[in-house]
Symmetry: C2
Subunit: 204 residues, 2 copies
């Protein structure tokens, strides 16, 4: 039998439909500013004007998407770090985890990447906040694991995240067989940063 839904349940379901529709619309050739409310509504299976029952406008929806995407990414990396053992390579596991996520959730990662340099100052700073959050979590991990100052850990973490995100951008447009090469390349680059900081540490 079909479950009888309360009004609130139905509303949340529709809201989620809109969010999913939006993510599926935001492919290689659509950004939050180029997408139309009507297009999202069409895919979500609702009338254009019904959109307003759930979001103030596309900007409002966009902020929700950015939040959700950032959250997913941070949760992912936290779980990756839990999988790191004493003798396993933290960089390898982290990069592999992220690259796998990207290839399986292209549009989620794309939203962050695209809106990071997009045409809306609001989105840009929202993504920037998510990235800072992301950097901070990595920095804390690095600081306690490599026993370095917070300042150094912050610098290292940020450099690493920038390198990884750039590689992610490349991976989005690359053929599947190229992805492995990109992953290997970025691992070396992260190692250089790590080595460099370690080398720098003694002499302040």
């Amino acid at each position: 039998m079909t479950i009888k839904k309360t009004r609130e349940q139905q509303k949340q379901e529709t809201r989620q439909n809109i969010i999913n529709a939006a993510f599926s619309c935001l492919d290689a050739e659509k950004s939050l500013s180029s997408i139309s409310l009507r297009e999202i509504a069409r895919v979500a299976g609702i009338a254009p004007t019904s959109f307003y029952r759930h979001f103030k406008d596309v900007n409002d929806l966009g902020m929700t998407l950015v939040d959700e995407a950032g959250l997913m990414l941070r949760q992912l990396m936290r779980s990756a770090r839990r999988r790191i053992t004493a003798d396993s390579n933290a960089i390898d596991i982290s990069v592999d985890t992220l690259m796998e996520f990207i290839s399986e959730n292209k549009n989620v990662f794309r939203v962050l990447l695209r809106e990071h340099t997009g045409t809306s100052a609001e989105f840009r700073s929202a993504v920037q906040r998510e990235i800072q959050h992301f950097i901070k979590e990595l920095s804390d991990y690095i600081m306690h694991r490599q026993q370095i100052s917070q300042q150094l850990a912050d610098l290292q973490s940020e450099a690493m995240v920038m390198i990884v995100f750039s590689a992610g951008a490349q991976a989005l447009d690359a053929q599947p067989n190229q992805q492995f090469i990109i992953a290997e390349k970025v691992k070396y680059q992260l190692m250089f940063v790590q080595l460099g900081v370690k080398q720098f540490k003694p002499k302040p």
Copy 2:
């Protein structure tokens, strides 16, 4: 007296007006895909349909802008390298030069950054080519100056460019007084990469 212009001169002048108009339109909240042909024409001081006498469509103009922006950037860095002496710090000079360029040509740099992750595959790969070109020139410089293998130089160069471009993105949205801090930060990060590669070199 006013110089009499030949037809061809006049045409080139108008073409340049369109290009300049486009760059001035492509500010913090306009991308090549969100800008309209009519808007560019308005700023360039021509009728919308006259645009077609010079470019096939906005895409065509966009490719021209990307080419031009990439060229400016490479010429800039080449001239910066010429200014580097034996005892001056290559990183400092390069970063300062680029950051100055960015703050004086925000929209030019913005086009590259934005279209790099934009909604047009054609633009993305055009920018990617420009960046690769940029990376290659730096890589050659690094290889001969640091006496390392091409492979290592490529990896180092790419990592550095990614870090610098990310900092550039931050600088675009930052207050002028923050720019100095960003520049200092990125210099450290580039130094880490350089140190790391140097450290890595002995053991292949």
